[in-house]
């Protein structure tokens, strides 16, 4: 039996999504900028998608931009706003455990004369609001914090952060990387005080190569790609119409009966964490239950190298990640876990299990059973 428990790396595309995309590619394949009927047809899909996201996020259609994915959304949000607002100040704030697409954008901006404060996280992987208060200064123009951490599933206090920012005299932009959260949470940027929000298609059973960025209407932002001035010049390049149709279709399907699906996901997660707690020498990183995201569990297995356990599980057709998949082709130690103060010996012994609405109890049990069989064996054979 196969158990795909790596849904934070990517998810399987839903059939309704691929059907729609095939139709766009084979039948309604026009360039949305073309003046003829084919172009109008294609443009229709974009309008439809924008209308959906506008309603879903309770924002205006004008505030939705489509990108090539999460990385570009994050890059555009961080670099685009920093460059456009630098006259108001050159100080940026983010956290220790952001995704590399935010962290490395920040690194780039440091090279361009910006100052960046990296907020620490506590043992549970949650950013310290006090540290944020202390970091704020008259120079601060942007704060970027992820909604749900991709490695341990820690949910960040987004509303509280927004409240703190709002209480400042000067406007400070708030960017939220919601790539792991969108599709599991109802997010309303207007109400929550979010100015920019990143979403990715392939984490919500949509296609790879498509993402979106919500940009609040009044936000000053500069493009980072230059070309045919599509999407009001903020994101040049022929729109990825099949991708746009696909991400909208995927999002629509995710939000159907969302509460029921999320409840079910929490029950699966509880089943899994209960099973994990029965194992010796095993630690769950971060919070569990309703205090954490429904679909991510990070577990450290003392005395086992994560890659070895990963490949042993793979032999039983159970697919998981060591650390986070986005950077796991370089066996570097997880920044998040380090930031959370996880013990050194456990850093290289940590796996991430991530579920989706398609995950079943059988898959969870299959995985728990496999861990039961494998752990004693793997702990016996170690370097001495």
């Amino acid at each position: 039996m196969e158990a795909y428990l790596d849904n934070s790396a990517t998810t399987r595309c839903m059939e309704c999504v691929t059907d729609k995309m095939v139709r766009v590619m084979r039948e309604d394949y026009g360039n949305p900028s073309s003046l003829h009927a084919r172009g109008v047809e294609a443009e229709h899909y974009i309008k439809e998608a924008k209308a959906f996201f506008a309603e879903n996020l309770k924002v205006s259609e004008k505030e939705i931009y489509f990108t090539s994915g999460g990385t570009e959304s994050n890059n555009l949000a961080v670099i685009g706003t920093a460059l456009a607002n630098q006259r108001a100040g050159k100080h940026l704030i983010t956290t220790d455990f952001e995704h590399p697409s935010v962290l490395n954008a920040m690194k780039y901006l440091e090279g361009q004369g910006f100052r960046v404060t990296y907020l620490p996280v506590d043992r549970d992987g949650i950013v310290s609001l006090q540290a944020l208060q202390e970091a704020l200064c008259p120079e601060t123009i942007l704060v970027s914090v992820m909604y749900v951490n991709n490695e341990v599933g820690a949910v960040q206090p987004i509303r509280e952060i927004a409240r703190i920012l709002k209480a400042q005299e000067k406007k400070i932009l708030f960017h939220v990387d919601a790539i792991q959260a969108y599709g599991k949470y109802r997010i309303h940027p207007g109400r929550e005080g979010i100015d920019l929000l990143s979403v990715s298609g392939h984490k919500i059973h949509g296609p790879k190569g498509i993402g979106l960025l919500y940009v609040q209407e009044k936000v000053k932002i500069r493009p980072i790609l230059f070309g045919g001035e599509q999407q009001k010049g903020l994101r040049s390049g022929t729109e990825n119409v099949p991708g746009i149709a696909g991400i909208a279709e995927a999002a629509r399907a995710c939000y159907v009966e969302l509460d029921e699906k999320v409840d079910r996901l929490y029950r699966l997660k509880d089943r899994f964490t209960e099973g994990i707690r029965k194992q010796d020498q095993t630690v769950i990183n971060g919070r569990t239950g309703r205090d954490s995201a429904a679909h991510i569990v990070s577990v450290s297995f003392a005395g086992v190298r994560s890659e070895v356990l990963l490949h042993a599980l793979e032999e039983k057709e159970i697919y998981v990640s060591a650390g986070s998949a986005c950077s796991s082709n370089k066996p570097a130690v997880s920044r998040t876990l380090k930031a959370m103060g996880v013990e050194k010996e456990l850093l290289g012994s940590t796996l991430r299990f991530s579920f989706s609405f398609e995950t079943t109890e059988e898959e969870i049990d299959h995985c728990l059973g496999a861990l039961n069989d494998l752990l004693p064996m793997l702990r016996r054979y170690v370097r001495r």
Binding site: H311, Y381, R384
Partner: protein
């Protein structure tokens, strides 16, 4: 401007009566590599020379690059081939050649004529002098230097005439297939692909054995070895890669033998298995990337202990190489970048923190007796279940 190449080969020339064997092998290999290049090529052997002629349009750079990977070739000369239509025509052709190649440059030159066609009306000295004089008249930037010229313009008078001045170095060595086949123990490291390349360069066909230890080594580690084999195969021709699952044997050794001897005993079993595959598939020797003192398992006593199980000769072309020398060859054959990708190989997984560096063969043999109960069956199982991948 060039439609043909003159191929120079080194050591083959001295091979006496067997010479045709070597030449035929060289031509066969050239045909093989040029098959994949855009263009149609005619390869001809003539009076101790091999010519490659392209018919119509062809990819010059790719042709040269491909020929540079053919062992046995020491030089690739892009030539202008002309019919013999008398000296005046030849002179015109030579001047045109010089114009195209050296217009406006300031250099020294010398004309060197070989008169293989003994009926040519002028002798080689006359041709040299006459052409040299005309070049001096027409190219003010060129001066004669007969001892160390920048440009050595070569004219070969045969049934047709060859004009060239450029020699692109080839890899040297002996044509593939002139020295049987050997089995390379290929890991994912820097050394073993280089070792395979070096032995192949002496005319030996290569097959390879890789030891896979899931879950301790990943599918990607295996992919990496296949990718390495592909790079090596550009020089050595197709490689049959035998992938042997070594996990059970490794665990069994781990359970039953002293830990500081683990690596040595593992390597002895790898040698035994590779040797068995070699014998079963017609390979005459084993090849390893070992180099004295590089790691604990490659000290001289360790090499002795490993070699103890081999009955076939073991070629270790890197034995006295320093790491940086190995790296420079790896870079040249383009395996380095792949080799340094960080995937586990099965030797490092269980390596003891303090492995023996001076193992005694007698003691190792005694330690191995603890394996006698099951090891033969396990080796047989490993041999039977091996996966064979054709790499080309």
């Amino acid at each position: 401007m060039f439609q043909a190449f003159l191929i120079k080969y080194g050591e083959i020339g001295v091979k006496g009566k067997n010479r045709y064997v070597f030449e035929d092998a060289l031509v066969a290999r050239m045909k093989q590599v040029l098959y994949h290049v855009d263009g149609t090529f005619q390869i001809t052997k003539e009076q101790g020379r091999i010519y490659v002629e392209a018919e119509g349009a062809f990819d010059y750079e790719e042709t040269v690059a491909s020929l540079q990977r053919v062992f046995g070739i020491v030089g690739i000369c892009p030539v202008v081939l002309v019919e013999d239509r008398g000296f005046e025509e030849l002179s015109r052709d030579v001047m045109e050649y010089m114009h195209r190649m050296y217009e406006g440059v300031t250099k020294t030159f010398k004309v060197h004529t070989r008169r293989a066609n003994k009926h040519y009306p002028m002798d080689s000295m006359e041709v040299n002098a006459e052409l040299g004089g005309r070049i001096l008249e027409q190219f003010p930037g060129l001066k004669v230097d007969v001892h160390a010229p920048d440009i050595l313009l070569q004219i070969e008078l045969r049934s047709h005439i060859c004009i060239y001045s450029e020699v692109i170095p080839g890899p040297g060595g002996m044509p593939l297939g002139t020295n049987g086949r050997s089995m390379l123990l290929l890991s994912g490291g820097i050394d073993s692909p280089v070792a395979g390349y070096m032995v192949a360069k002496r005319g030996v066909y290569i097959d390879a054995t890789y030891f896979h230890a899931p879950p301790y080594t990943s599918e990607r580690a295996k992919e990496k070895v296949v990718d390495l084999a592909k790079k090596v195969a550009r020089y050595t021709g197709p490689i049959r890669l035998h992938v042997v699952n070594f996990t059970d044997i490794q665990m069994y050794i781990y359970d039953r033998c002293p830990h500081d001897e683990l690596t040595i005993i593992m390597r002895r079993y790898m040698m035994r298995i590779a040797q068995q595959i070699a014998e079963d598939t017609g390979c005459l020797a084993l090849i390893t990337g070992e180099s004295i003192g590089q790691v604990a398992s490659q000290t001289v006593p360790s090499l002795v202990a490993t070699n103890d199980v081999c009955t076939l000769p073991v070629f270790r072309p890197l034995i006295a190489f320093d790491k940086e020398d190995i790296v420079s060859v790896a870079k040249k054959i383009d395996t380095y970048e792949i080799s340094i990708l960080p995937f586990e190989d099965c030797c490092t997984t269980f390596v003891a923190k303090h492995p023996v560096t001076k193992p005694q063969v007698e003691r190792i043999r005694r330690s191995e007796q603890a394996l006698s109960e099951k090891i033969e069956d396990m080796v047989k199982e490993a041999l039977d279940t091996r996966e064979v991948i054709q790499v080309r």
